[in-house]
Structures are given as structure tokens and as C-alpha cells.
């Protein structure tokens, strides 16, 4: 937990003037209590913190876009900006590198097969010390074993979303994970492109922490 969240919190707290959260634009004009941030939707099981390039003012075939995206190493997620303050910040920082926290979900489209959307809780400009883009995540789900003929790997499943897992950062965790197959777990890691050159890229989660859910 500390390995992932604390550096991000430090990063965000250093940019108070340029950040906005979804609670910032209450109709009353008062900034809401920090404890009253927009509640994550009921389906949200994947919490993400990511750094990437923002694009705002987009349109798409059939209107199937939130109008704003973040791009991290060819991964593109739509950003659902839930307040005027967030939308204003996004319009001011089109094409700049930003930090985003929120809940990731996948929705089926009509013209677009699958849309990945982050319901944004917090958006801020990225600092210049961190050079690389990233997408950190934490989620709860069921661990499963999957073999598709070519690959034999573990996946985590939740809300009809499944991520292949990569334990290369800590192989001992792989053994521990095998004992948790079909169990509910909480997991932290980095969402990355799978090795290979497929377009659009397929993703996997590089696991940094795995716990059996209480």
C-alpha cells in the first residue's frame, strides 16, 4: 500500500494550485469538505492513478466519447470529468502531461467495441521530476487460472473485466498467488502493455502487492 500510494499523495499535495477534484464545484460555490469527494460509482472496483498526456475537446464516431482522454504509452483511456472545475482544468491543459486519480471501468459501445473510462476524482498537472508515464491500479476481484493454448497465466476478474497478471517483479508472489486461485483478493500493480506489438495494445497488470480479501 505504502509503496504505491504515498509517493503519489506527496506528488499531488505539492501542486495545490493546479489540481482540482470532482467535489470542487458545488452549486453553492463553496468547496466541499475533502471527505465529501464524489462517491465512486457502484460498479467501480478498479481504482487508478495515472500520469499521461491529456487531450480535451474530442469528438468521436457516433458521439461515443467523453470528449477527454489520457494517453500513456499508447494506452488511451477516456476521462469522465464530473465537475465544471475539472472540465475547466482539462480545457486549460489540453495536450499537457497530467496526473489523474479515479475509477476505471469498461463500457460497451455501439460504434466502438469497448470504451475504457476513468471517472475522475482528481486531476492535476504532472510535475517535471517524474519522467515516465504510468498507470497504477488497485482492485478487488477473483483470482483465476487461464490457459489459452499459447499462454498459461493467472488473471484477476471483477465486473466482467479480466486482467492477465505479471509477477516478474516478485516471482515469490507468483507461488503465493497460485494458492489463492478462485479466492477473492485485493491487488495493487501497474497496468502495462503486454509484450508484443499488437495494435491496439493488450494490457496486463504487473503485480506489486497481493492480499487475500478479508
Amino acid at each position: 500500500m505504502q509503496r504505491i500510494i504515498i509517493p503519489m499523495m506527496m506528488l499531488l499535495s505539492s501542486l495545490p494550485a493546479l489540481s482540482a477534484d470532482a467535489s470542487a464545484a458545488e452549486p453553492s460555490g463553496k468547496k466541499a469538505d475533502s471527505q465529501k469527494q464524489v462517491a465512486a460509482p457502484a460498479h467501480a472496483a478498479i481504482h487508478v492513478e495515472c500520469r499521461g498526456r491529456l487531450r480535451h475537446g474530442l469528438v468521436a464516431i457516433g458521439g461515443e466519447t467523453t470528449g477527454t482522454t489520457i494517453t500513456m504509452d499508447r494506452l488511451v483511456w477516456e476521462l469522465n470529468l464530473q465537475s465544471d472545475a475539472l472540465r475547466k482544468l482539462a480545457s486549460e491543459h489540453h495536450k499537457e502531461v497530467v496526473l489523474v486519480t479515479g475509477s476505471l471501468r469498461r463500457v460497451r459501445g455501439t460504434a466502438v467495441a469497448a470504451r475504457w473510462i476513468v471517472d475522475v476524482e482528481k486531476l492535476s498537472l504532472a510535475d517535471h521530476e517524474t519522467k515516465t508515464d504510468f498507470a497504477k491500479m488497485s482492485m478487488s476481484g477473483v483470482l483465476r487460472h487461464q490457459a489459452d493454448g499459447k499462454n498459461d497465466h493467472l488473471v484477476i476478474e471483477a465486473d466482467e473485466i479480466s486482467f492477465p497478471l505479471d509477477f516478474s517483479s516478485d516471482p515469490s508472489m507468483h507461488n503465493a498467488a497460485r494458492s489463492l486461485i478462485r479466492e477473492k483478493v485485493t491487488l495493487k500493480g501497474l497496468i502495462e502493455r503486454q509484450p508484443g506489438l499488437e495494435l491496439p495494445p493488450k494490457v496486463q497488470v504487473k503485480v506489486t502487492r497481493l492480499d487475500k480479501a478479508m
Binding site: R55, H56, G57, L58, V59, A60, I61, G62, G63, E64, T65, T66, G67, T69, V76, R87, V107, R108, G109, T110, A111, V112, G196, L197, E198, L199, P200
Partner: protein, 530 residues
Amino acid sequence: MSFIVDSSVRPCRGRVAGSQTVVFRVRAVLAALAILCLYETGSAETWAVKPKASHEKRLAPELDLLQRGDCRFRGISRCGKAVYTIPAEKTNSIRSMAVRMDANVPEVDEKSRRILISYPASTKKPAAATLAAAGLKQLEDYEKGSFLVVEPELEVSGAAVKALLEDDAVVYASPDYVVTANPTQRVDVAQAAATGTIPNDPLLNQLWGMRNIRVTDVWPTLREAPRVIVAVIDTGVDYNHPDLRNNMWTRNGTYGYDFFDNDNNPMDEEGHGTHCAGTIAGVGNNGVGVVGVSWKTQIMAMRFMGPDGSGSTSDAVKCIDWAVANGAHILSNSWAGPDNSRELAEAVTRAEKRGVLFVAAAGNTVGNGNNNDTSPYFPASLPNSNIMTVAAIDANNARGSFSHYGQRSVDIGAPGVGIVSTVVNGQYAQQDGTSMAAPHVTGAAALVWSRTFATPSQDPVQMTTVRDLIYANARPVPALRNFWGYTPPAKVPGGVLDLSFLKTPTPTNGPVPPRRLVEFRMKVDPAKLR
């Protein structure tokens, strides 16, 4: 391990035997690494690749890739994917030229290894020496279509493509794309030929939308709008598609403009714009694929959305201005976004002042759609008088479950579920969306414009007349009454597109003569003339 014995190994003077052993071991490791590298360099992988648009106009994208990247073309798989052999170390560079790459390669069957080479005339065909130099064997010379069917002896390489381009008689070379057709499609060909009033396009049976908007009743007397220019502002258009090629607007050898890549090649890399174009004006009665609402209308290809189907509002604005400046009468816009851009609104207003009709898709949201009155989408929700905002209906005249609606912000419904039309690489596909509904209205507007005005021009009076004729003749569907059509100029709550009014003459110009020569005569009593 005999390879480690290298005659060039000369241990340093004064070194003891033990040092020699070390040198030999280092050499051995280096040699092994070298061999491993050689193996890596020599290895090749099989990939399914969807290449980006051609740089060379005489080549289909699948063959153009061969002269830009070091790879070999194996053929088109049964499911329509182009399959290549790519050296492992070149995979990255090929990726930069591709829209999609897939390692899960489907099998290539024998037929799909063929290449089609178009030539200009029966007196000017590619030389046998050209084919030999390219390693191609001629299977057939289809003179009626002015093309050769050839087959590679092995895989097609960049050198083969270069050899083809050196021959002036090669007008265009492309793979023999695999097209999957429903067996029932063939039934109507004979029927069409027999009646003469139904187009002989084999997929007509599946075009339920054409029957729903009653344009099939109109085609016997009105089916073309050749002087009307429709700009498809989208992901581009596959201007080489056999069902679109002859209906493309063209100027100085270009078919429109690409503001996504900022060049004059608006080739579609996604397929969406090509699908819209086929519904508007797929070439009619050509014995191929589908037919558009209008059998002949000039399609101007405008590209501002890329392979992922999204684009920036600023590029959309450039497309609108470019199309208006180059004479488009109707802009077809099957795209939208939630942000209200002032620049976009101003571009639509500029088009409005010039008298250009702006057909817009209402938008899709899977589930129950969206009420655009309360959560607007743009440009569909802009208040300009030239905007016709279109929702999607299915074959039962019910609203498409995904279709956006809005009593005040959506004007009319049109077919948008299970719509078959053209897609890239000469193929056809069925798609859903208000993106498919808007082109039905666009094609209809082209026919109405052509029917109503002998000389179509960018003119606010002509534009509003066309718009109002479509609204006034919309077919009311009680079940759709609560969804759209309440705010003027829309006239019919719950109305859906219906062109049956075109069967009767209009007071302005009278009927357009059908293509078959029919002589109209009228007896005139001179006493009644003023």
C-alpha cells in the same frame, strides 16, 4: 563445440597456458552470441497487419506496405486480414506503418494469395516481362473489368511491387480481397434484371432501411442526384471501393482532404466514413454489393478522425470550412462530442449562411440512449436552422435502444440498426448507430434537392426548402411520439424519414424523367391559354 577453434586466436606473448584458456572461453562465448544474433536476425514472424493508407496511388495499402517496409505479403486470410512475413528485427518499423497488428494469424487459403492488376485499355496491358520480374503468374485476363488476376510464385516482395510500378500499364494493383456473401443475396439479381426498376445490387435484400424510408418506391422515377455534392465528414472514405469509386467527387485528382494527417489523401483507415458513404450514395445497379439512397451523387471525402475513431473539434471545423468552400451542398456528420465548442458553432453558422445543409447524428449511448435536451451532444444539439439531427430506428420502427433522443433537440428518425453498407478494402459490413441513420437522411436530402431544384446550389432558400420537404413528409410513428420532432423547423413529433412523397410531381419542377426513355405528351386547348 568445434566452432570455438579459431585460427585467428593468437594469445598474447608471455601469457601462460591458463590465460589462453580464458581467451578461448571468451571467444567461445562471443561466437555463441554471434550465432544467436544471426539466428535472431534471420528469423521471421507471421503477422496479420492492417496497413495505413497508401502513399502510392497505384497500390492498395496492403501492397504499398511492401515498398515502404521490409516484409513479404502472403495473402488475405479467410476473415479478410492481410498476412505478412516480417523479419523479427523489422517488426517495430512495420508497426509504425500499421493501423493494427495481430500475432494471431489466420490461415491464408490458396485463392486469397491472388493479386488483381488493373490496366487502362485492352491495347495496353502489363508486359509479360513485368509479371516475370515481379514473380507473378497470370491466371486470368478479365477484359470486361480491365484487370489481370495473377498469383505469386512465392510471397510478394517489395521488389515485385517495384517491378509493377515501373510498367505504365499497371493502373492499380491490389489483393484479391475475400468477400463473404450471404447465399440469399443472389436471389434478387435475377429478379432485378427481370423488372428493370429494382437495382441489381446483390445485397439489396438486406437493405431494410431503403424499404423503410420508401425510397424503393421512388427509384423507378428518381434515383440520382448527380449535381449534388455531399461531404462525408468522418474517418475518410475508401475512394477505391468498387461500390463508391464512380460516385466520388474529384478535383485535381483528389477526392477531398485529410485534416487528421494534413494531406490530400482522405483514405479511410477505420471504415466508419466508408459505411456512411455507401448508405448515402453507393453506386446503384452496378451488380456489386449495396446501393445508396441516391444511386449517383458526388461524395466528397473529408477525414478528421483517425483509426481509433476519434478526432479533435478543431480539425472538424477545418473539414466543414473546406467542404463548404469547395462546393458541398450537404455535410453528413456521424460524429459528436459532449463539449460545446464556440469554434464548431461558428463553423456551422458559416455553413448555414451559405445555405449548406448540416445533417448530424444524435449520438449513441449503450443501454437506454441519452436525452439530448438535458445532456446535449454537439454539433447535434446546436440551434442552427441548417442542422437536421437524426435518431436511429430499427426495422420495427422502434427507437434503437442506444439512440439519443430529445423532443426539442432531435428532429427526425431514420434506420440505424443492422445497416449493411460498404467498408474499407472493398468489403461490406453490418453496423448499428445514429451514424448509420444520419446518412439515410443525407442521401434523401440529395434526392430531394435534385428533384426540387434544376440547378442545385449553396443557397439558404434551397437548403430550407429541402429541409422542410423532408420534415413535412416525415411518417408519424405513434410509439416514437415522445422522443423527437417537437421544435420547428421539425414538423412531425415521432416522425421518421419517408420519401414516398417524391413519387408525385412537385409544383416547382415537375417530375424528373426516368432513365428509360419515356415520352411525355400533353394535349393543349389553345382556347384555354391566356
